[in-house]
Point group: C2
Chain length 336, copies 2
DNA sequence: ATGTATGATTTAAGCGCTTCCATGAAGTGA
DNA sequence: TCACTTCATGGAAGCGCTTAAATCATACAT
């Protein structure tokens, strides 16, 4: 590691540190001659500016924290790619915090903001409650959210209409002839679970189908949870021909359970998930699901948050609703 | 955001900033009475230390950079989980850098080290050449590598025996009766490609089978590459009954190609991959592959690197070879 | 009462930058 | 030539913290 600092470069180029700094930041005029001398001194000494000193002085860190509930879920990983690319393009680094599906961990990570370890934070998680997030924002923390809607003047967010998407899924299932459709929800306190359930209920009402509370089970948004929830459903012996899982991970669990129980998909059981997890198109039968423009969502949010960091105000709008798209594949089609 | 600083806390508690600092860091004795007063002042003022100032003063950042070639690949994501958990446990943050499979991006990210944005860096990529990495290490940069072997006194690394694993795969295929086995390699300049090819060759020699250069194709470690490479192989019309893909992503590409070309796996074509990508057990037929203790590898390396950061020397050993394990599933078995 | 050892606390010097302000040099018009 | 503007550069303060060294307070032995 090279340990030369600005003063060394300055001496070498026979200028003051102020001038070196100016050359580095292009903040104000430096004559071409001097600039050239400084630049070559920098190269010669292999100088690299010390980020901590810069941060301290400028009261910024040029990094964004990204709190994600589970990096292994490709849905999140793609959002993060969008965030990272955009942030890098705007000279920001990102600190990824994998909360491992635990709320306390997410809170813990958010304290990085209070330490000024990061200039702002992007939340990619269904776990934290709206109230908590608003509290942080009220304290003046720069926060942005992707994947859910929050109404707060300082919080940019980008989300899809979960209710609508969910309604579409259930409509599709009803059109395929299903009347008793089970719903696998995620964590009880996650916004997504709630909204997807709402869409499910609306679709039933639209079709004048009865709501049967026994057909609802919670699968905690993960594969094992989905598997177990489906088995509980079967154990009730109430009869149903389709399952709508609030995400693909749980749908995968349903697949496993069906394989174990020798229930054929889609012939005896139609399955639809949400998220268009990368795995969903590799399973057999290919899983019907709802796709979201994940990368774009991440990218857009990063841009907005950084905008806000720089002017302390939103150029235009603050909340963005993007369209999701039902992908009808083999797991819910051609039921004979 | 709270803007109180140490001096405010000090005034409130009627002590000097040095005392506040000592309370915060527990570095030397402070009387219980004073400590209590300081602590309550901190709470009262909602004080949080400024990380940049701390970093500047202590010449550390308590963050590790992690350069990964593609975060979407679950193999890498799991390694990263191991790194992150361990690092967090030791009070380090991690800056994840997704190089999007591009060498230049990786180099670019490594310059973070020179800026002292991070205290050390963990490389999770097959792309960068050994030479380049050694050069960095020679400059005194703290670097660690997971997933490949590098011989440098300052570089901890943890890896699996690619040659052995690869040899095992091919032995297995030969035992299943295959004699003409194609090999799909990754980037020509990746260490993994080279080592896996070596294992392939050794296994052929062990079994006194001829090496047929036409059976080798490069698939760049990704799905599309695997798909295309397999099609090129088929187009040559030289006859082979098994494919060993140097990673699961490429094996997935082979699956797609086989589906398109109506080639049944494993009946007409046995397929084996490497990595035990999460997807591999969901595809039909389930993909035979080689598993590595990914999480543990990441965790162990993070621990070693941080050790090194703190004592500037390795407590015990520096390189770790862990065992990988051939998982024989459906894609290479029961050929009739 | 005096000296000394021990422990608690403060003082003050930076860590390596950025940026405001002052200074100097060069150019312009009268 | 002189007064004034403009542009390039340097001086120096200070971002918020840590830590070595100095100081102060207390207790104890003599």
């Amino acid at each position: 590691m090279n340990d030369s600092k600005m003063i060394d470069v300055a001496r070498q180029a026979k200028v003051s540190v102020a001038t070196v700094s100016r050359v580095l930041n292009g903040s104000s005029a430096v004559s071409d001659k001097t600039k050239k001398r400084v630049l070559s001194a920098i190269k010669e000494m292999n100088y690299a500016p010390n980020a901590s000193a810069k941060n301290l002085r400028s009261l910024k860190t040029m990094t964004l924290g990204v709190v994600v509930s589970d990096i292994l879920v490709s849905y999140y990983a793609e959002i993060i790619k969008g965030i990272e690319n955009t942030a890098n393009g705007l000279n920001y680094n990102i600190l990824i915090c994998d909360a491992q599906n635990r709320k306390e961990k997410e809170r813990e990570y958010m304290s990085l903001l209070l330490n000024r370890t990061v200039d702002g934070m992007i939340l990619v998680t269904p776990l934290l409650g709206n109230e908590e997030i608003r509290d942080f924002a009220d304290m003046g923390c720069a926060i942005g959210i992707v994947g859910r809607y929050i109404d707060h003047p300082n919080v940019p967010c980008i989300y899809t209409d979960n209710v609508k998407a969910s309604r579409e899924v259930v409509h599709h299932l009803i059109e395929e002839g299903h009347e008793r459709i089970a719903f696998l929800s995620g964590y009880a306190d996650a916004v997504d679970s709630y909204e997807r359930l709402e869409g499910y209920l609306k679709a039933l009402r639209d079709a004048r189908l009865p709501f049967i509370p026994e057909l609802i089970e919670n699968g905690n948004f993960n594969e094992i949870g989905g598997n177990e929830a489906f088995r509980r459903l079967m154990a009730k012996d109430i009869g149903f021909t389709a399952v709508f899982a609030a995400n693909d991970e749980m749908a995968l669990g349903v697949y496993e359970a069906c394989k174990a129980l020798s229930i054929e998909i889609p012939a005896r059981m139609a399955v639809v998930g949400v998220d268009n997890n990368r795995i969903s198109k590799y399973v057999t039968p290919r899983l019907s699901t709802v796709d979201q423009p994940k990368y774009t969502m991440g990218a857009l949010l990063a841009e907005k948050l950084i905008d806000q960091l720089n002017d302390n105000a939103f150029a235009d709008k603050r909340t963005f609703k993007v369209d999701s798209k039902l992908l009808i594949r083999d797991s819910s089609r051609n039921r004979k």
